[in-house]
Point group: C2
Chain length 343, copies 2
DNA sequence: CTGAAAGCGCTAACAA
DNA sequence: TTGTTAGCGCTTTCAG
């Protein structure tokens, strides 16, 4: 049903090659013919078929992005900015959400292969080596997140958690906190390990203390944060501050603390990571370790674009900085451990 | 770089036609050859090129979705569910976010045309007639939201606000509220008009009252809700309850009310629309008019799929029901108007 | 049951 | 400066 180049050519009384040249701004066309052709294109409001272009040129001008949780505002924002970048650069976005199911990561990769995307952003941490292989083998550059390793065709972006955590913990120490808990991410993920390790290192470095029962696993979501906080608050002694692996987790913790009638930050301080917009909306507004989405998205894009020019260029390591954002969920450590109401 | 059908054919000692037949499950192939071919396909992990298929068949198996604000959790969830539906049905999603800029709606539609999508979900309300035309003219079915009109190739999904609002207002009346304010959506949008009108109708029907200064324009975002609430609270007399055109707006209103030291719901009740996950997380949890995302997404998909079978089938009208979700942001009306602290 | 061949809409080398 | 032609990877008649 849509118009083809040949029809435009016929209408303009030229060959389709000429129409192609006009569209692609070749200077081997008379201004006169060019104008005539453009007029027809306008009138018919003709748009070339990208699949044909793809087939011919071998480039789809599509990048794929595979994310674990579209509901997490951090990823949403990232996708939003990334899509903007792509549109500015005349590329398209193929979005795949896995909901943390590794089987869906598999499907998603197949979709990417099918559509012959020019690059893949892989934000799910559960990476089976075989999957990456099939992409690289097809010459499709990949950029991963917090994978802590690169390879031919595979770049990695890693969030500089260590210095950020160090800063956050130092800040807590300044407020008088000595006993700090941590709610981790989903067990088994590389990022979870990294965030936890950064926290532990910072604690040691600052000479503070934590303990087994104060370090609980979460799932990067609100519900996980709630449950984890419940566990921490059920300990015979509780910390004066709790750091969470991301903001959603921290928000869940906040919620549980409220339910237990703890005042924040008077009774206990809570901090998160990411700085999602929600962090500034919950009560009290959340102190958090901000990860710049714009820089992040930009690096993702740069990594893929560089690889397109030269496949060997993939395999770089990028760093995203973090910055401490102090809000009202953290405050001076209470003089003594508060009593916790049991729900 | 990726393998082509011809190579598979060569390796299997058959023609590419046979390979094609095997892949598409034709029964005109011996079980024997079929097995042999499938083996090679496995080994090479060959995936056919969808652009070539598209070119041949004239169907891209891509649906496009154009949304105004990817940051709004309502849309995020909708996109998420819609994407799931598409994957289940072996289709792809082309995502475009306009950030409320109508110029970007234009660009997005062009992108859809370029990729020859099989259908477009248009969730931005600022519809210029010409744009829809160009899609229909290309035989691309469209489904809009709250556009309140259908046309050849253009279906519409509308949220049944009237009964929902009626229910919500009746509920407020039961709580003793007589004076109710409203924070509308962005001026000029059809949905804003509809939501506002549903509210006004309900107010009249229930015999309650509202007034000029209590009906303020918002922008469907948190900041707009804050500003609007500020205006309402600056009136000489303030309502005992405020309904917002969506949850983000209501959350903004909540925030302003907090800042003015109003207790919710003791001093003033606040309700929203949508029932985004955040509604249950803010303090106090928000009473809201829930719109089922799953049903919504399903209708979007059905509308497009029906149109694919028969273009004339597009042009249907669908209805999404709403349901009242009562939480803690609404309560009995205060005996007298509370005093408002000026910030 | 299988293969040869044409053609989807475009681009790029080559000819004119 | 323009047109002719081949071919990107696939599907689908039509022959065999």
């Amino acid at each position: 049903m849509p118009t083809s180049m040949r029809e435009i050519a016929k209408l303009a009384g030229v060959s389709s090659a000429t129409v192609s040249r006009v569209i692609n701004g070749s200077n081997l066309v008379t201004e006169d013919t060019s104008r005539r052709v453009r007029k027809i294109i306008q009138d018919m409001n003709f748009v070339p078929n990208s699949s044909a272009i793809h087939l011919k040129k071998g480039k789809s001008r599509i990048y794929g992005i595979i994310i674990p949780d579209l509901t997490n505002p951090f990823f949403t924002e990232l996708v939003k900015i990334f899509e903007e970048l792509l549109v500015e650069n005349e590329r398209e976005l193929l979005l795949a959400n896995t909901d943390f199911h590794s089987s869906r990561t598999q499907t998603s990769l197949r979709r990417m292969l099918l559509r012959r995307v020019d690059g893949v952003v892989l934000l799910t941490s559960e990476l089976e080596t075989g999957l990456l292989q099939s992409l690289v083998q097809n010459g499709i550059p990949v950029v991963t997140a917090d994978h802590y390793r690169t390879a031919r065709g595979v770049s990695d972006i890693l969030v500089d958690f260590a210095p950020g955590m160090s800063q956050l913990v130092a800040y807590l120490k300044e407020l008088g906190h000595r006993q700090v808990g941590f709610i981790a991410g989903t067990a088994g993920l590389v990022t979870s390990r990294v965030r936890m390790q950064s926290f532990l290192d910072a604690i040691v470095k600052q000479g503070l203390s934590s303990r087994e029962g104060w370090i609980v696993e979460g799932n990067y979501r609100i519900d996980g944060g709630s449950v984890a906080m419940d566990k921490i608050l059920s300990q015979p002694e509780i910390p004066t501050a709790v750091v969470a692996a991301n903001d959603l987790t921290a928000i869940g913790a906040l919620r549980t603390a409220h339910q237990r009638n703890l005042r924040i930050p008077e009774d206990i301080s809570i901090a998160g990571c990411d700085d999602i917009p929600m962090a500034d909306i919950v009560f009290p507004p959340l102190t958090t370790l901000r990860i710049s989405r714009r820089e992040y998205a930009q690096m993702l894009f740069e990594a893929l674009r560089a690889a397109e020019e030269d496949f060997a260029k993939a395999g770089q390591l990028f760093h995203v900085p973090t910055s401490l954002v102090v809000r009202q969920s953290t405050g001076p450590a209470p003089a003594r451990a508060p009593s916790v109401a049991t729900t």
